[in-house]
Subunit: 216 residues, 2 copies
DNA sequence: CAATGTGAACAGCTTCACAGCC
DNA sequence: GGCTGTGAAGCTGTTCACATTG
C-alpha cells in the first residue's frame, strides 16, 4: 500500500498520483516566482508566497513536494531554480506555439495579450472563417482561412485557442483534432466533445459572472 | 444532527451547506436549460442533460436537489420552471447591471460580448483611466473617467468586470470596493486583496493555457 | 531557530444504490 | 419501466502536526 517503497502494485495506478488541483495551481506559482526572479529575489518561504497568493503555506509545500524537494529547510525555496523546475514539470520550457481560431474582437484581444509570454506561449497563427477577415493583418500576423487548419500538422502546432461563437466551436474543435491539435483552450460557452487524448480547458466568462450575485 | 428535522442547532451552521462546486455548476444548468427552453423542449431528464454537459446524472440530481425537488419522477425536470428556479437561486432574476473597467482590447470585446444576456447581465457603463479613451464611444456607451468610479454608488451598480493590466488591478479593486461594489470579475493575472464581504472571481487566461502542455 | 517535507486526520465533493413516485 | 431524491460509501483534496534539516 506504500507507493514510495513499492512501485507499480497496480498497472492502473499512477506512480505518484498528482492532484489536478495541484497542477492547476502550478502556473500560479510559476508566475509569482517569475515576478520575484525579476525583482532579483533569491529565495522565498512558503509563508511569504502563501501571503501573496492567498493560500495556506502547507498547501504550497505539499504541492511542490509532489515533484521533489525543491526547498531548503530553514531558508525557503530558491526562486530561480524552482522556476526552472516548474517550467519543466508543466512542459513549458521552450516556446509553445499556439494557433488562435477566431479573429473577432475577443480573438484580436487575445492575439495582443502580453500575459502569455511568462509561460513561453506564443500565438503563432490566426484563423477565421469569414472572407472579410481572411488576409487582414493583426499585429505582425495575417489572418488565414480556417479551411486551411490542416496546415497546423506540418507546422507542428499542437495547441489552439478557440475564440469563436458557441455555434461554431464544436466543428472548429473537430477540425483542430483532425489537424493534430492535442490541447484546446475553449473560450466559447460550449461543451466540446473531443477524443480522450485531447485535453480541453473551457473558460466561460459569463458563467463565471453568473455565480457572483449568489454570493453578494 | 439531522438538519432537515432540526433546524438551527448551531448559529454558524448553514441550514443546508451547499457546495461551492454545486454553485459553480448552476450557471451551466441555467444556460443549457435556457437553450432547451428556446427549442420549446418541455422536460429533460438528468441523463439527457448529463450527456450534453459531460457530467454524471446523479451529480445533476444531487445539485438540483439541494434547492428542492424540481423534477417529476418518471418524467424528468420541467424546463421552464426549473430555469425560473435557478434564476431565483442565483439571484439572476431581473437585469443585473455591471460596470466594466478598462476600455482596451479586452474591455471592448467584453462590452460587445453577447453571452451575458442569458444570465440577465448588462454592461451598464465603461470606465478607463487613459484620457485618450475617455469620451470615446463603445457601442451605445461612452467611456467614463475611472476617477468617477464613486458614481457607481448612486447608480446602485454593485457588480464590476475588471479588464485592466495586472499592475492597475489592485488599485481599481480598492476604488470599486469604495464605490460599494460587492462582486468583481477579475480578468487580470493578479490576486486581489479585498474585504471579506466582497466576492472576487478571477479568470486568468494564460494560467488556464499553462496547464495544457502538462496533459498533452 | 526557521523552514521544509510528509504521513495522518479531516473536510468536501462525487458516486452509488435504492427507495419512492409517476 | 423510467426517473427523481437522498442517505451512505468512496474518493479527492486540504490541513495539521511534527520529524527533520540547514
Amino acid at each position: 500500500m506504500n507507493v514510495s517503497t513499492n512501485i507499480k502494485i497496480d498497472e492502473d495506478m499512477k506512480y505518484h498520483k498528482i492532484p489536478d488541483e495541484t497542477i492547476r495551481r502550478m502556473p500560479m506559482y510559476l508566475r509569482a516566482l517569475s515576478l520575484l526572479e525579476q525583482d532579483a529575489c533569491q529565495t522565498i518561504s512558503s509563508r511569504q508566497l502563501a501571503q501573496q497568493l492567498h493560500l495556506n503555506p502547507p498547501q504550497i509545500r505539499k504541492d511542490l513536494s509532489y515533484f521533489g524537494a525543491f526547498g531548503k529547510r530553514g531558508i525557503g525555496y530558491p526562486v530561480q531554480s524552482t522556476v526552472q523546475q516548474i517550467r519543466k514539470i508543466l512542459k513549458l520550457d521552450g516556446t509553445q506555439s499556439a494557433a488562435l481560431i477566431g479573429a473577432g474582437r475577443l480573438g484580436t484581444a487575445i492575439a495582443a495579450y502580453p500575459g502569455f509570454s511568462v509561460f513561453g506561449f506564443e500565438v503563432a497563427s490566426i484563423f477565421d472563417i469569414a472572407p472579410k477577415k481572411i488576409g487582414k493583418k493583426i499585429g505582425a500576423m495575417t489572418v488565414e482561412d480556417a479551411a486551411d487548419l490542416d496546415t497546423l500538422k506540418k507546422r507542428k502546432i499542437r495547441l489552439a485557442i478557440l475564440a469563436v461563437p458557441a455555434e461554431a466551436a464544436q466543428s472548429c474543435a473537430e477540425a483542430l483534432v483532425q489537424a493534430g491539435v492535442k490541447g484546446i483552450l475553449n473560450l466559447s460557452p460550449s461543451c466540446l466533445a473531443v477524443p480522450r487524448r485531447v485535453k480541453v480547458v473551457t473558460i466561460d466568462i459569463a458563467m463565471a459572472l453568473g455565480v457572483l450575485p449568489y454570493y453578494m
